[in-house]
């Protein structure tokens, strides 16, 4: 007991020092900004300082010991393990996109808050303590041992292990690509470096850390990253909260603001100028509709029109600017009738969407009875998938191996949720605060007096504007319908919306970077451990020395990291949809096998193989079949459930298959029963 306490106290001391040092760093930068240090330097300093810090922690905690490398020596105190898991958990999507998602979708976005917190009940009640009692290294370890098969336990686990490894890698890889993508995004926005340079900068810091010290290094880095994430998220939210309600605790204050926001929404909904803008959008959608109907003639006609316009501009010797713009229009024009169909359909959809009335923020499932019911069912399905997915994510479950005892694992899950909630309870508050600010301060402003942050963020990404604002009805005043805002920009722009100094913007960027890096660290370790421990050591070379195992693991980590970085540099999909798919997949494939493995002794080898395969296939099939991004169509949906919630079909399919196949085949042997008894028994 005694050395444990001193270890805990020592850690607390180090991290208090770190927090103090970080505060001094912030104050120093704020002072430098006052003295007129250029913005771009602040961005560089934040990037550089935090990345060096993570690398430093990685170097200090370097290790080649197997136990330290895979499970941090199993001696991380519960509270610190909780903090590290929280950082592991809070991904780029949570930090950057979630508040924006809530801003855009109102109540319906809260499914993410409920799902991503409720999942921890399943982790604690059904899985984590039993994994800790089992005390091995990876998730496939547990599944292979539990479903080893009756005849030859050593051999029988192979198929289960391979399936579990495939599931671990598929799930973690989609997720890690999303994180690295976010790293590139943040780095390129705040320092102006190229997107792919940003990716490789971030990658370098991830690698120094996890390459040198495995689980041990990433645990201690993640604790530091959590502190940065927390500070970065709370400061702007508290500031905005104090500004709008005289109460600096946003989680409490926004209750008062919500009725005011609803009243404002009502006023804007009735405003004739807003109606005018929406009518213009409807008109534009109708124009596209008409052109789509007369394809391909309309495409041909449009092209000739543009060509003629260019010719006439050239003929009358107009200014170079006019000629350029006419040329650009012609270049941007769809290359073929097929292209035109795609582009115009998109444009029509977009305008129709923008012509929709304002979604009331606090109203659950707005719409008529039928749409409302569909929205409710989708909300429930999404919550279900996110919860079960959370309870089956390998990089989170891996964390239950690192505490000193089973009891500490249970306490650690409590701390995890506690630290996650410090952020997650602020996210809905932040969405409401920013929305109120925009609805009441920005809407109604004169176009000649737009605040500075508007012009800054409209210029950040010319191709895919994150924030755009156009005087559609030419009245010189901002209408709400004239603003489009991307989910990813909200948190990053909050400090400027709140009127805070640029240092805080840099801090928020550093927070987003910490969120993405910490999650990427954990995921890369989960993937490389699955490859090195489960594939190489357990399946290929059982006689490998511990030294060799750790070396192989490090090399694989390097390889996986580069592949993931390459995949991210091709800019696939948007962050939230990629991460969403990972949850349904994890839930469908791993959750049934993990839980039944502990709670149902009769579940056997054949059942597990069939169940994991069935869950995986059903989930993938539904996604391919219904997601327009993956080549399906919404028409194929079952009960109108969105593809992101494919797990609602995958999980029951997995559970049923395990049950039926297990009952049809022989019961597992005595060894398996003894293992289950052992993991259920209290610690001695």
């Amino acid at each position: 007991m005694k050395p444990q306490r001193t270890y805990f106290q020592r850690l607390r001391y180090y991290y208090s020092l770190f927090t103090g040092g970080f505060a001094c760093f912030l104050i120093a930068l704020a002072a430098l900004e006052q003295e007129g240090m250029p913005r771009v330097w602040i961005g560089y300093l934040f990037m550089f300082a935090t990345i060096v810090l993570y690398a430093l922690i990685g170097v200090i905690s370097r290790t080649s010991n197997v136990l330290e490398y895979y499970v941090a020596g199993r001696r991380v105190p519960a509270m610190f393990n909780g903090m590290a898991t929280a950082a592991d958990w809070i991904s780029a999507a949570s930090f950057i996109s979630l508040a924006g998602g809530l801003y855009l979708h109102g109540f319906d976005g809260l499914a993410y808050i409920m799902g991503w917190t409720g999942g921890y009940c399943l982790v604690a009640l059904l899985i984590a303590p039993y994994l800790r009692k089992f005390a091995q290294y990876t998730i496939p370890d547990f599944l292979a041992e539990r479903y080893g098969g009756a005849e030859n336990a050593e051999h029988g686990g192979r198929a289960v292990r391979i399936l579990a490894v495939i599931a671990t890698i598929t799930v973690s890889f989609t997720y890690v690509v999303a994180q690295i993508y976010a790293v590139g995004l943040i780095a390129s926005r705040f320092t102006g470096v190229d997107f792919s340079v940003g990716i490789f900068l971030g990658l370098a810091s991830i690698l120094v850390c996890s390459f040198l010290g495995g689980m041990r290094a990433i645990t201690w880095t993640q604790v530091a990253q959590y502190i940065i994430i927390l500070v970065a998220f709370l400061i702007p939210a508290m500031w905005l909260s104090a500004k709008h309600s005289d109460n600096p605790i946003p989680q409490v204050a926004y209750g008062k603001l919500l009725p005011k926001l609803s009243a404002r929404e009502h006023v804007l909904q009735e405003d004739p100028k807003e109606a005018e803008v929406r009518a213009i959008y409807r008109q534009r959608a109708a124009d596209y509709e008409a052109r789509l109907k007369t394809l391909p003639a309309s495409w041909e006609a449009g092209r000739i029109d543009l060509q003629r316009k260019l010719d006439s501009v050239k003929a009358r010797n107009a200014s170079l600017l006019e000629i350029r713009s006419a040329e650009r229009e012609l270049v941007a024009y769809p290359k073929s009738a097929d292209d035109a169909e795609r582009a115009w359909t998109d444009a029509r959809e977009q305008y129709l969407q923008r012509a929709e009335p304002i979604t009331p923020h606090a109203t659950p499932y707005p719409g008529d009875k039928a749409t409302s019911d569909i929205k409710r069912n989708n909300f429930l399905a999404l919550v279900f998938c996110l919860m079960l997915g959370t309870a089956a994510l390998p990089h989170i479950l891996m964390r239950s191996y690192t505490t000193p005892s089973v009891h500490d694992t249970r306490v650690s899950v409590f701390w995890t949720l506690f630290f996650i909630l410090l952020i997650y309870l602020t996210i809905p508050a932040l969405a409401v605060l920013v929305k109120y600010d925009i609805y009441s301060a920005l809407v109604g402003t004169d176009y000649n007096h737009l605040p500075n942050w508007v012009s800054y963020w409209t210029n950040v990404d010319k191709l895919n504007p994150l924030f755009s604002i156009n005087d559609v009805n030419h009245d010189g005043v901002v209408q709400l319908a004239e603003i489009t805002i991307d989910a990813d920009v909200l948190v990053l722009a909050t400090p400027e919306i709140a009127g805070l100094p640029y240092v805080i913007s840099g801090l928020v960027a550093a927070g987003g970077l910490a969120a993405a890096l910490s999650t990427a660290d954990g995921l890369l370790l989960a993937i490389s451990n699955a490859l090195s421990h489960d594939v190489y050591y357990k399946l290929v070379d059982r006689s490998a020395s511990t030294q060799k195992r750790v070396t192989i693991s490090k090399l694989l980590l390097l390889a996986v990291a580069f592949i993931a970085a390459y995949a991210a540099s091709t800019k696939p999909g948007d962050i939230l949809s990629l991460v969403g798919a990972a949850f349904s997949l994890a839930g469908s494939t791993l959750f049934p096998a993990l839980v039944l493995g502990v709670f149902w002794k009769r579940a056997n080898h054949q059942g597990a193989i069939a169940g994991m395969a069935a869950g995986f296939l059903v989930c993938i099939y539904y996604m391919l079949h219904t997601s327009p991004v993956l080549g399906g169509s919404a028409a194929g949906q079952w009960f109108h459930i969105a593809p992101i919630s494919a797990g609602i079909f995958g999980v029951p399919a997995g559970v049923l298959t395990i049950a039926v196949v297990s009952l049809l085949t022989p019961a597992p042997g005595r060894q398996t029963a003894a293992l289950v008894d052992y993991i259920r028994a209290p610690e001695q």
Binding site: Y120, L122, L125, P364, R410, L417, A429
Partner: protein, 87 residues
């Protein structure tokens, strides 16, 4: 020796029974919280707590706080249970 062994087995079984009962109870609470907050959200929107419509409060904070309480209660009860059977 034999006697000792069966006693050991019994207590273990008893421990597992009580652990399972606690788990089932808390899972039921978990399910009710999540399901009711989402399924009856439209009905609960009319009620208000400290300015929030009840359904919005539940989805944004209430449910998550219940989950946290479940975790705390589980860790506390299981430690007690483990201690009882170790003694």
């Amino acid at each position: 020796m034999k006697n000792h062994h069966t006693m050991d087995k019994l207590t273990r079984q008893h421990h597992w029974q009580r652990a399972r009962r606690l788990t089932a109870l808390l899972l039921a609470l978990w399910l009710t919280t999540g399901f009711c907050a989402a399924f009856f959200a439209r009905e609960l929107a009319g009620l208000s707590v400290f300015g929030w419509p009840l359904s919005f409060y539940l989805a944004a904070q209430g449910a998550s706080l219940v989950y946290l309480a479940i975790l705390a209660f589980y860790a506390w009860r299981m430690r007690k249970l483990d201690r009882e059977f170790r003694a």
